[in-house]
Structure formats: structure tokens, C-alpha cells
Symmetry: D2
Subunit: 326 residues, 4 copies
């Protein structure tokens, strides 16, 4: 059993803490959070103890650190953990400043940093990826990525989020790179405020349709909205020389109600904590593999960096209404 | 082009008349109906002329007769047409009296009588049959046949129909024989009046669950109701050594409406005239094949007789609450 | 019954001729085709007679003319028919030259010209349109239109087609205008030759992803490929303030085969003659409505003109890799 | 936190032990198993200790006992636990001997015995039950229960299982009682050996189609096979005065592969440990509710007894080929 510490006892921290505690190869030793109460409560529920960051990092038994603190502290905590010789499992994004991310890249080149792009670990998308790599539709030509949130976050969140492309589309840019198996060369992003004018007042958009061109000329379409009106819509379609692979939404239940009005079936699972519950378990399993020396991280610091570069290009594209090279 | 006459200008007669007129190998010459107006109107719409039965039968150009008159005249018209040397396409049932059907069987043994069990010509069920015969699920073991009407017919219809087993389940008994590829040996029928007590007052039931055993020991389940409350439900499932074949309902459209209430999709097509529209076209094509000498009838007088025998056994089973040998 | 003539006895001409002959309010009087044999054969099968164009147009009983000849003759035939005082049902496109289409527009402003954009008459898309207009998802925000052909046409066809945008996407541009209920203001088209390099040698592309902005700021995504590898894929999704409407593919049958390999269900109907069979019938019904004075054409000459303008803009956008105002 | 002990460290014992350990309100104190190694290994993985039954029962902190030992010891262990004043969560069946179950019934009438009919806790079936009780389809008329195993168990298991009706159909009889909300009055069971003749040599059948009549006249159909050839098929359909409710299979993933062969989608989850994973978690939650005094057991000793009575009647029905009163 490898001892690990978690930094951050909020919503996503609680998910990771429980998954670490339930993982047969991990032992959750410490929960670190500036809000002492939150740390203590989560620690007790998971059989761990609350501690300060320095105490947790100085315990030589601790092999891994899970960074689930607020976004603006990700990079700082990760740097300290790496310096202390720990392996790091870091929530995305690394940092909202692309410049800071680029500057610190050399520190994270040693193969002990794992970035939590959760969708790569979703059983549906992972199966689509395996079939794609297995050649089931021949050479991949184009991709469609639908990624719609059920309802907009509070306006205060919007302001601090870095905007739609850095906060939301970044997941889709990572999906595009991962599924295409190559870098994105150019992006055209058309966006607007179709959902809520107040989002425009905060300098952001709430709806986007994006076309990427990859290095080899593949085309990728991404659709985003902050408010779908019908739940959390997470679908991917891959088109190749010999057919199509599609991964659909998961639903609450399989129950159908047939009446004279037609057939009513369940909405998609809502929201990411539920839809990606299995993905979070799989991420922790991958972190345990890393700590056991059985795997190198499949999502690296550079993956985070590349996705952020596309985000910045998308932002420029939308502002200037023209395709932008990444 | 083979000239044909149709007897009966009612609802199903109109369907067959239009399909005959549109068939590239058939020419609809006559429409026969005791209600002169109905005959004239249908004849005009189809480029035919209205006529009396004797006139139509005495025209030597007429090669085939389509019997779509009222049930109690099917046998009489068919007999006259056979005597006049015509090929016959007869709507089911041959006659409500099993005794009469049996007595007249020898007349219809010459291969020029085709009984309109429409479901055998439904593209979905026909494809299921082909896959079954093609060995896609290995040896067939059991069958489930769901056959639910959207809403009960008028009580006056119930009284004259011969009852649920003779009027409605007879289609399912034919499906069972056709798909199993062998005779039914025994039937157990559990029925009741769960929909409308007035149907019981007319000596009938409105709901039935039936288990058949075939000669070789296969098991067949049939479900019937006069009122589904959700449209015309016509499904078949076949279970074999290597898997399952299922033919589902056809829907009005493919449109889905996703909202916070979930996903609403269309009800099944309602009713048989719409669901089996393609089947009626295919029946007429088969009749044209017969007249062209390219096919023997795939549904014979004996098929009608056997299905009626099972109906009578089902009635005895339900009345006495025990399995009955056919 | 209104007498009509059809010009063109090819594949689509045969469809329209049979639908006209089967329509209760229309009488197909003439079939016109430079290949006399083809005209005679089709005329005989439909109870019409073959004739020269001038003879057909000079028959005062003929109220309507269906233009299904080769693309380069559409405009010329339509002009003659209008001059002769007939109503016209014209296959798309009006002409490959936008300039010619614009120049002749004044001739066709009198309300007796109906352009056959068949997809508007597909029962699935029509139902989606009705629900959209009925407010079922609130204000429309964005549209996705998937329009993939099963396999590329012969290279000779590619050369004469005017290219992907004028030949294929034009249908999708019409869908966008019709569903959005407003004009398209700007188009960005990213295209490439991912299917077959020989198509590039003919100066065309085989794959495109397109983003439209409408006058009011709605966003529309269109996906095209000349070869899907899995059949004819025709789907539309509409996203609004209160949810999503989706119209899916129609399949050959509803049969499913379940085995240890999973569930195999039928491919989409292949190709447009089958998928849009009901649409062609509905088009003819609409033409009969026009001839009866019960309807004005729902698809006008101007609709054809606008769709072609977007096609030209899309071509410029793809060539110059930038968004282009329509 | 309530301390609990588990008896049985086999396959299902391991599931319950892990769910108890992960439950926020339960503490797994002891694992009891005659195979000391198995007990020790499972105890270590769950943070518990291995112990003998007497030691576990004599610990006054232990409030609940989970009985997951071999079937022939269920009743004996449950009796000892009840005598020791513990609440019991017992795997089904209580005992293969109906006589023993009936004789010991009085001991278990005090409301601290919970029988693990897992399917009642499946989110899909539970939602169907809620909608049914909520009146969504009006008065329930009939039920269809499809319960097909993927592949037959070893013949040694067949011999010790008590036969298909006692081992497998008993789950479906419980579903019938639970969903109908009333007792079963009569059963007709048609069974056979269609899968493997060797099962007949062991005095058992492998395929059954069963019709139940409830006290008020509702009809229930049950379909069983020991080998589906396409995975674990667990579906329920409820038919009522105003429509139909259907709960379908859960699949491994949502991925579809479209090609010229059609669409291939995933098989159902295989087998009960995976399909009913959420149900086992929900069972443990219900046991925690019982120990907290927040709930009486929703599945009682009497529920087990009644389902077994129907099993015995079904066996007599199949042997004598006639309906049998329960």
C-alpha cells in the first residue's frame, strides 16, 4: 500500500479522497486544506488525518500527492510536491496563465506528474479510443465532440474561470489531441452569447462552435454551450474510412414509459460528478499504477500545456473572426 | 400485365385495389361490391370498372380474384372464383366455422389459393425469418410474440368477431407456425377481461397470455390485449442456441425531444393499415408472382386451417383452464 | 384531376412520374425525354404518352410541368413552361450558374414555381420543423446538420457537378435557412480531400465541416463527406433555450441480432431514393395543392437562389481559409 | 457507525464486505469463514479482523450480521444471530427446504431480518416500481419478466441448486409479487431441456415459460433460460390501463460501431455481480437504515417464504403439466 496525501477538501477533493481510500493499493494518509474544518471532516470519513502541507510533504512514507485545491494554487502545490520527491496527480488546469505553465515545464519532465483529464478515463470514450486505435474504422478522418453543460455556473465563477475556452473547451481540445493522435495545427472558433447576456458583460461567451485542423489535415468539430436545457450532453463521434464510432450519453436508468404521448426515457446523467464517477475511479487506479512503477503517466504536463495553447488560439480566433495557427 | 378483379370495396379492399393498380405486372379490371356507390368510387380512383361478381368471373382475361369482402362471404366468393378457374388472393380468415373450412379444404389443394396473413410480408418479420432460417442464432428454442391493439373495437364488432383467439390471436398462431417451421402440439391460454367488463358481457375476453408447445418441444409465448394504451405494439423475439433476434415496432418519425423531463420519442405507428402498409404491397407482389407462374403461394389454405385449429384449442384451454392438445 | 407533363425520364424522373400517376388529384399526360425509348417505356408504365416538349406545352389541358431533366436544361425548360402558362415543379438546382439564376429571377416571381428541395418534405425533418415552430425548445440557438453520402459518385459526375458545395451542401444550406427561419450572414468552410485524392485532381473536395452565422447570430454546423463507409447518414439536431430536437436516420428494418458479439442492428436506408421516398410523394402532393389553388409553393425560386449564394460563399471561404459574408 | 460482521468470504461475501466497509454508517468488524485463509485475506482488504462465529456474535458492539455463507447454512447462522440479538441481512434463499423455512418463520417475525432479493434494489427496477406505484400507467394489468442467464452453471451446481424454479425463478417470483403488490394465486409452468440434455439427466430443466395469475386476476409472464447465448438478459415490462413501463438491460458501454454491416452496440453487462453492483450497494444502505432505526426491512422472511411456495407450485405444475394453485 502506497501512502498518499490529498490537497483540497472541496467537491472534487472529496471524490478523489474517497477513491484513494477505497483503492486496494493506496492508503490515504493526509487531507490538507486551509479550511481546517473541511480537512478534518473529510479526513475522518476516509480514515486519514488532517495536516498542513509541509507536514504531509515531509512524511517520507507519502509517495504521492493529489492536487485538488483551488485552481490558482495547483502549480505551486505541484512544484512543492515534486521538490519533495513525490509523484503528483494534479487536477486540471495546471494554471490559467499559459506563460507560467510554459516557464515551469522543465520541472515536470521527469515522468512523475499525471494531469487529471478525466474524460480519457471514461469507459465509453476509452472504448471508443481502443476501437479507433484497433483500426475498426480504418484511418480516422474527422471527429465530432459534443460537450454541453446542463446549466451555466454562477456569474462569479464565470469571471474567475478564464473564459469558456480555457475553462470548458480545454477538455474537448484534449479529447481532440488524444483521439486524433496528433497535434492541432489551426483553430477557427465561432462564439456568442446566446444563453445569457450577463455572461457577455463579464467578457465571456456561452456558446461556441469550433473547427480544428490537425497537422495531417484531419478535421475536428467541437460544440459547446453553458446551458443545454436537457442535461449534461457528452458525446463523441469518430468518422473514418470504414465507418463511424459513436459514444453516447449515459442515462439515469433504462426505464421507458410508453403512452399515447409516445415514449419517455431518462435524461442523461447530470452532472460530471455522476457521469464521470467511473472515470475518477479509473484515474486513481492509474495513479496507483504509477506509484507501483507499473505505468508511466498517460496524461502529462505537456498534454496540459498543448491543450492550453489551443485554448489561447481559440480565444484569438473568436475575437478576430479568423482561423488561427496554434 | 395480368387482369385481376377485387371483391370488396371497404377499408382493406381499397388498400388492395390501389396496390393492384400500382403493381407493374397487374391491371385492376373490376371492383365488385354490393354497395354500388362504393364499387364505382373505388373503381374510378383506380382506373377500373365496377361490375357484378358473375360478370367479373366470366371475363376470360381476368386471371386473379382478390377476396376482400365481409368475412362471412370469403369462402363463398373464393369457391366461385376457383370454380371459374381463377387464382385467389383471400383475406383472412377463410371462414369463422372451422368445420366449413375443413370440409372445403379439398377444393383448394391445387396451388392457386393464397391466404393473406399480412405479417409474413412485413419487412421486419420477414427479415427476422430469413436470419432465423439462415442459422444466425443456431437452433431456435423459444419465441415471444407481442401483439397488442391500441384500443378495443366497438362492442358490436366483438360480438361478430368470433372472439379474441379467432379474430386476433390467429395472426400470432400463424407467426408461431411460420417462425418455428413446425406444427403446434399443445396450447395453454390464460385470458381475462382486464380492459372492459362489457367485453365479458359479450362472452369474450380482452387480454390473454398463451404458451404453445411445438411438436419438437419448442416453447412459444404470445401476449394479447385489445387495448395497449400506447399504440399498436407488434414485436417478435426469437431465442436460439447462439443468441436472440428481435423485430421491434416502427415509429411515426425518428424525432426525439430532449428536455429536463428526459427524452420523448414517437409512439409506434397506429394502426395495422399504416404499420403493415409495406406488407400489403409485398402481398400483391407475391400474387403477381403467382399469376406469372414464378411462385407457388407461400401461405396456403392449409395454413389458414391450421391456425384456426389452434384458435379453437386456445378457446377450450382458456375455458377449462388446462393445456389442450391441438 | 389536373393533367401534368414530366420532362426527364431518368432515375428521378421515374420517381416523380410514378408519384404523379398515383396521386389522386393528378393525371400524368406526357413524358418528355430526348431518348425516345426511355420516354416511351416510362410513359407506358404510368399510363401516359411520350411527346416532344412543344407538344406537351401546347396542350391546354396540361396545367403543370415537372422538370426532372439534366441539370443544364432545368432553367431552359422551366422558362418555356412558365411562358406557356404552366405551373412548374423543378428539380434542384435551378442552374449551376448563379449569375444565370439571378438574371432570370424576375420571371419566376409569380408564385407558380416550386423548387424540389426534397428534405423539407421528409416526415422526420418536417416534424422537427413543426416542433421547432411550435416552440417546444424555446428560442432556437444552434443547429447541427449531418449529411454524409454512402460512397462517392463516379469521377465523371464530380467533374460536372459544380463541386461539393454546389452539388451536395446546397441541400444543407437550404435546411439551415428553413429551420433557422432567417438568412445566413456568414460562412466558414473547412474542406479537404480525405476520401480520394483523385477528387482533388478534379478540383473538388470530398469532406467539409462548415459553420454558418445567421443574421441574428445563431450558429449552424454542417458536416459533409462523399463517403461515410456506413450508409446514407442524414440527421439534424436543433438546440434551443429549453432543450434539443433530433431527427435520426431511418433504417432498413427494426431487426436486432444479439449474440456474444453484442447487438447488431440495421444500417441506415441507402440511398436518397429510398430514404426520401415519402418526401417525393409529399412533394407531389404539394404540387397538386398548388395546381388546385390550395397552396402557394413553400419552396420558391428565391429559396434556390439564396442557397446557391451560400454555396458560392462557402467555396470562396474554403479556398481562402477565412469566413466570408454571404 | 454500527459495527457489523459478515459470515462467508466467497464471491458474494466479498461484495458485501467491501460495500459494508465503504458505507459511511457501517464499520465492518469481523469476517467469519470456515476457510481461515479466505477470512483473513478478505478481513485485511477491508480493515476488519477474521473471527469465529461465536466470537463475532458475542461482541456486544456488533449490531448486525450479514449472512453470505453457503446456502445450506443460511438458516442456522441467521437463527444464531437472531438469538444473539443481532439484526440480520441474509442472502437468499433462506433454505432449500420449504418445510424448514415455514417451521422457523415465527422466530423471524420481529422486524430485524432483511432478505437480500437484490433485484428490488436495482435502480432500473426500483424506478419502474416507483412509476408503477405513482400511477403512471394506471391500474397494472399484466407483467412480463425476462430473466435469462448467459451460460449454464457447472452440472455439479445444478445438482445442488434445488432446480431451476427454486434457484433461478425464485427471483422472478419475488419480482412478480413486489411489482403486482399482491399474492400469486396460481401458476402454470412449461419447462424443458432445450439447452443441454445433461441437465435433464440431473433431474432439472434449463428453459421455462411461466404464467402466473394473481389473487385479483392479473397475469404475469416469466421467461427463463440457463443459457441465452447473448449475455445476462434482465428486463421487465409492466402493462397497465394507460400504457407500458419497461426497464431494459444495462450495457458495458454506449459505444456504437457503424459500418456497412450495420450498427454494432455493446452486449448487456455480464453477469449479476456487474449488472447488480449498484443494487448490492443499495442493499447495504438499506441495512444501515435498519440498524439506525430509520427503516423496517422492505424484504422480510415472509417474502422469502412466499416466493419459495410459488417455486414449489411451479415445480408441480411443470411435472404434471397443469395449472397449480399456490
Amino acid at each position: 500500500m502506497h501512502a498518499v496525501a490529498i490537497v483540497g477538501a472541496g467537491r472534487i477533493g472529496a471524490i478523489h479522497a474517497r477513491n484513494a481510500a477505497a483503492n486496494a493499493r493506496l492508503r490515504l494518509a493526509y487531507v490538507v486544506d486551509p479550511i481546517a474544518d473541511a480537512a478534518t471532516r473529510l479526513a475522518r470519513a476516509c480514515g486519514a488525518q488532517s495536516a498542513g502541507l509541509e507536514d504531509a510533504l515531509s512524511d517520507p512514507e507519502v509517495k504521492g500527492v493529489i492536487v485538488a485545491s483551488s485552481t490558482d494554487t495547483h502549480l505551486e502545490v505541484a512544484l512543492k510536491a515534486i521538490e519533495a520527491g513525490k509523484s503528483v496527480f494534479c487536477e486540471k488546469p495546471i494554471d490559467l496563465s499559459l506563460e507560467k505553465v510554459q516557464r515551469n515545464a522543465p520541472v515536470f519532465s521527469s515522468g512523475n506528474f499525471f494531469l487529471g483529464f478525466n474524460r480519457r478515463f471514461d469507459p465509453n470514450f476509452a472504448e471508443l479510443w481502443r476501437k479507433l486505435r484497433g483500426g475498426e474504422i480504418g484511418r480516422l478522418e474527422t471527429l465530432h465532440i459534443i460537450s454541453h453543460d446542463p446549466a451555466p455556473p454562477p456569474l462569479s465563477y464565470i469571471g474567475a474561470s478564464g473564459g469558456l475556452f480555457r475553462d470548458m473547451t480545454i477538455h474537448d481540445f484534449d479529447m481532440a489531441r488524444w483521439l486524433a493522435g496528433e497535434e492541432v495545427a489551426e483553430v477557427y472558433a465561432a462564439g456568442g452569447c446566446l444563453v445569457d447576456e450577463k455572461i457577455a458583460d463579464h467578457g465571456d461567451i456561452d456558446t461556441a462552435k469550433i473547427i480544428l485542423k490537425t497537422a495531417s489535415g484531419r478535421l475536428v468539430f467541437i460544440s459547446n454551450t453553458r446551458r443545454s436545457g436537457y442535461g449534461y450532453d457528452q458525446r463523441i463521434e469518430a468518422y473514418g474510412a470504414k465507418g463511424r464510432l459513436a459514444a453516447g450519453n449515459m442515462r439515469e436508468t433504462t426505464v421507458e414509459h410508453w403512452s399515447t404521448e409516445g415514449c419517455v426515457s431518462d435524461a442523461p446523467m447530470d452532472f460530471f460528478l455522476e457521469r464521470y464517477a467511473a472515470a475518477y475511479v479509473n484515474e486513481m487506479e492509474h495513479f496507483a499504477d504509477m506509484l507501483s512503477g507499473d505505468a508511466s503517466p498517460t496524461v502529462t504536463y505537456d498534454d496540459g500545456l498543448q491543450a492550453q495553447k489551443i485554448s489561447e488560439s481559440a480565444l484569438r480566433s473568436a475575437r478576430n473572426n479568423r482561423p488561427v495557427k496554434v
